[in-house]
Structure formats: C-alpha cells, structure tokens
Subunit: 320 residues, 2 copies
C-alpha cells in the first residue's frame, strides 16, 4: 500500500465521521475545500505533538490518537468556534498496521465527539510526530479573543484544573494508584474534552478567553498581556477534583492546578453582570478578578501574595 | 525567549508580508481568523518535510525555508486557488538563532512571492521537521479537480520537468557541475515556483489538474484513476531544460522528467478547443492525450509502449 492509500485506508472512519457539514471536498485531491456560511469567519489552529516531548515514546496509540485531536480542537472551543474539520500530518518511523489501526480508531472516536471531519493530511517517514490543524466557524466579529479583559471583570474557569498534570506520574508509569483515583486522572490526560458548548455560550458575554494548555498562571499571563491588565487568582477558589486530591493530597493538587499544563479547560473574563445568566446554563467557577496593572498574582485565603516564580512549562526554555 | 515569542520574533516579516487580505486575525491568539468573500470556497492543503527524508540533514536553512513553503503552496496552484495565508509547525532539535533567522528569511521571501501571510503555527523541540498548511480561495464550484478528465482531452504540462530530480546529485554534494548548468537546477530544487497564474487561467478550461510532486507518470496515474480514464504520454513531447540535458545527457534527462519528483509544475487535461486561447496567454506543452480505459502508458516517437514499471517515488513503499 502506497502513501496515497494509507491515510484513506486507516482514516476512512474519521473522514466521513460527520457527513461533512461545511466540507465541500475531503481527502484525495491537491486541496480540500470548505464552505463557510455568509457572515461567518473561519477559525484555524495548528498543534504539533512530538514523541518524547509531548507524550511518552511508548504509549497506547488509540489514546494518543484521541488526545492529539482533542488538544488541537480545544483551540476552537477557546475562540467560541463551531468545529468543521481537521487535517493530520503524521510522521512515523515505520508503518505498523496494528499501531495505525489503533491510532486511527482513537482519532475517529475524538473526531465524532468533536464533530470534526478529516479532510486531508500527509503521511511521511520519520521520527514520530503528529501535527493537527483544526478548522471551525464563528460569526464574524464574535470570536473570543485574549485581548478584551477589563478591570472589574471576573476571572473564571470552566472546570477542575490540574488533573492532567497530576496524571503524569501515572502516564509515565512512575506511580500506581487505585483505579477509582487513577482512571479519572488518566481519562483527563488522554481524552480531554474541548469545551465547545461553553465557548459558544461565551460569545457576546466573555471579554477574553483561552484554553489552559500551559498552566493556569502562564495562560492568565497571556490574557493579562494581550489585554493590558492585571489578573488576580484566588488559590482557594481554584477547583480541583476529588481524584487529584486523593492521589497527591490537597496542597499538591492546588499546585498542579495553578502550574501544571494540559488542562484544556477554558479560562475567561466576564463582566459581573453576565455571571448569573451564564451560571444558569453551565457550571462556572469564579477564581479571581481583573485589575488595572499588569501581570498575574496568586493570593491565598487571607489575600497574601503567594505568586510562584515558575509559571508552567515552556518548550525551549533556554535560548542561546 | 519563550516558545510564544519565538515564532513572532523570527517570523514577523512573513506574518505581515501581504497586509493580510482575507486575514482577519493573525498570530497570537488561540486561532487565526480568515474572511472568505461570498461565493468563494476555502482551499486547504498540508505538507510535511522531514530532515533526511525530504531534504538533506545538512542544508542551507534559507533555501529550506523557501522550499518548504513553495512545496505546500503549489497545491493551491493545482486547484486554481488564489493564495491567502499559511501556518507553520516547526519542530527543531535546538534553537539556533542564526539558523532560525536564515530559515525565517527564506520563508519570508517565498511568502512574499506567493502572497501568503503567516497566520499561526507551533514550535516544538524534536527532530527537525516542517509542516506547512496553506489556505487559498477559489470561486465556488470552480476548483480544479483530478477527476474530470475525458477521453479526447489533451494532456498538458505547464513547464519543463525533471530539473529537481536532476539536481539531486548536486543538492547532496555527490557531483559537481559548471555554474551555468548547476545553478538553474539547484534553483528549481530549492525554490520551486508554484504556478498560481496558470492554475487560475485553467479554471473553467481544464477538465483535471494537479501539481507534479511524485513524478509525471505517478501523478498522471492519479488523474487517470480519479477520472476513470487512460492517459498516454509521448516521451518526445515532454519538455526538458537545456541545463538538465547538459548535466545528465538527453536520455537521462527524459528519464528524470517522467519518473523524478519534486517538479511542482502543473499537469492538466484540456479539451482540444481550449488550447489555442490558453496558449495565447501562457506557455502550454501538450505531451499526450486522454483515452478510454485506465492507467498510464508512455510512448516513444514511433508510438511503441515503453512504460516503465517504476513510477516515481513513494514513501512507505514496503508495508507489512
């Protein structure tokens, strides 16, 4: 089987997962073609996952498939976009039929969950690496940006934080835990749920939004910088799961929640008047507020500044 | 400098290369946003280049930058699309400032030539690999597909073939040649010219089109298969450059032209009645014809079938 048949063969399920609303032409030609309803804009985001950097070199290919797509799709949720489709650039050291089948199955599961159709890609031989580009649509001018937070807004998140960072010792096989604790954490790591519904609800309500991938404090820093404001996070308001607390203890759970990455939960700023109508439709956790100034500070229950110096993980931390 | 500043810093030139026609929001948020004029469709294509597979591990980063974008952009030309923008997923073993600056400069040169603005991407640590996703627009229903060739059509190409394949021994440093021969071949390899103008002229005229990346015979096979027809190529009509003939001799030049890849010249099928009006506007080389049947045959001047068994390069030739 040649390169040309490979993606078609293994990824046929994901390709037709959603019947192709907005997809005028899928895999098989030089380009895919997308239709966009009048008055809408196309949202585009690209994410790369590299073996040994973003995921363990040895891992379940089905879990890897679903995680690869979810991580990229979360950026659509963060803009308030409705998912349309994605492309996959897959670099593989060799073609193992079992590996490919499992990876494609995992990808397909997440494609169905996210209502994203596979419209193209490229398969090449090389060190294992996965680049996913996702496409969504959003009414013109209504996309959620990072730059609109205003002093007086509430700082909110869409769910519990720290589960993925807490799961890392389990993912890497460094620790074990009873299944009741381990499973929810591993699920969160391998199968994040992009918050599409929340993102779409936030259109016209939130003043700024993003998805937490680098860690709460690091990502709040992005909102603060883009909006020209200061953000204050109240540690005791940050929601953490019972599983995470049970696995690492309450203190380390909060540490994972503010500094760990890979949550793929939305963080957003909200004028106070919007809170009750939003909470009537979806769970919202208020964890702080927007102030004049710059930067992000972390406060304890007494209002003391306990901002850590290290704010989440960055690739290429050292440059020459 | 963190991951977040890296692309912005080095790729700022490419980012604003074109003033962003169709780009509503570029780098810096969770997604980029594109506007599409009413009645147009978005064309999307993704290509990955891996060090040691698609280009030498040691090469000029500026040349690599321009080639990476041209290879991907050529797919837009093949659909008859007008370029809008691209994203870049760059995986690097380390951050070398000189390397990045040169790569970004090369990318920027090609971005300006193609009128493509950089709208986003992802930079990660890992084995060197470059994934480019390109975006263009095309009037709804007018994109050039591979599937419309009809018996009686002429088979045409938009320029000389085989230069890039012929250049390989020069690229790899295995052979030397006088500059007058070497330079045009190396230019073709490192700086392909996507045939946007030709592609746009072919809208409403050509019945099928693609860009030659896997080699003339292999790519003709894609048209034949997608269209359910046979294609006949007359070897003596295949255009080859003086530089290629001078470097490898006339016989090997034709061999490179039919079996070598990386030409990024358009191949298309054309109703005979369209030929003269098209030739009045742009050079067109008729190299064969479309017949009832299937597959691709290569004919010599006497009409003898000299079809080789091996048709261009494929990744993953052996599968378990």
């Amino acid at each position: 089987m040649g390169e040309f048949e490979l993606i078609n063969h293994y990824f046929a399920a994901a390709q037709c997962a959603q019947g192709g609303e907005g997809v005028a032409l899928g895999i098989g030609d030089d380009c895919a073609l997308l239709d966009l309803p009048p008055g809408e804009q196309l949202a585009v985001s690209t994410d790369t996952l590299v073996a040994g950097v973003h995921f363990p070199r040895v891992c379940d290919p089905g879990l890897l498939g679903q995680r690869s797509l979810a991580v990229a799709a979360s950026d659509l949720a963060a803009m308030g976009a409705t998912p349309i489709a994605f492309t996959l650039a897959l670099t593989l050291p060799e073609v193992g039929e079992a590996w490919l089948r499992a990876f494609a199955d995992g990808l397909d599961r997440m494609a169905r969950r996210c209502r994203l159709g596979l419209i193209g890609g490229d398969t090449t031989r090389g060190p294992l690496s996965i680049t996913v580009t996702v496409f969504g649509r959003v009414p013109a001018g209504q996309a959620l940006r990072r730059s609109g937070a205003r002093p007086g807004d509430l700082l909110c998140v869409g769910g519990e934080l720290g589960n993925a960072a807490g799961a890392l010792p389990l993912v890497l096989g460094e620790r074990e835990a009873p299944n009741a604790l381990a499973q929810p954490l591993l699920d969160h790591y391998w199968s994040p749920s992009p918050q599409f519904a929340l993102g779409q609800l936030l259109r016209g309500r939130a003043t700024a939004a993003l998805d937490i991938s680098d860690g709460l404090l690091a990502d709040c820093g992005h909102i603060a910088k883009a909006s020209g404001v200061a953000l204050e996070v109240n540690l005791h308001q940050v929601p953490v799961s019972a599983a995470l607390q049970g696995f690492v203890g309450p203190q380390a759970a909060l540490q994972a929640a503010v500094a760990g990455g890979d949550d793929y939960v939305l963080a957003f700023t909200l004028p106070p008047g919007q809170l009750s109508s939003l909470q009537a439709q979806t769970p919202v956790h208020v964890i702080g507020r927007v102030l004049e100034g710059q930067g992000v500070s972390l406060r304890d229950r007494q209002g003391q500044d306990i901002t850590p110096l290290q704010r989440g993980y960055q690739h290429f931390r050292e440059t020459p």
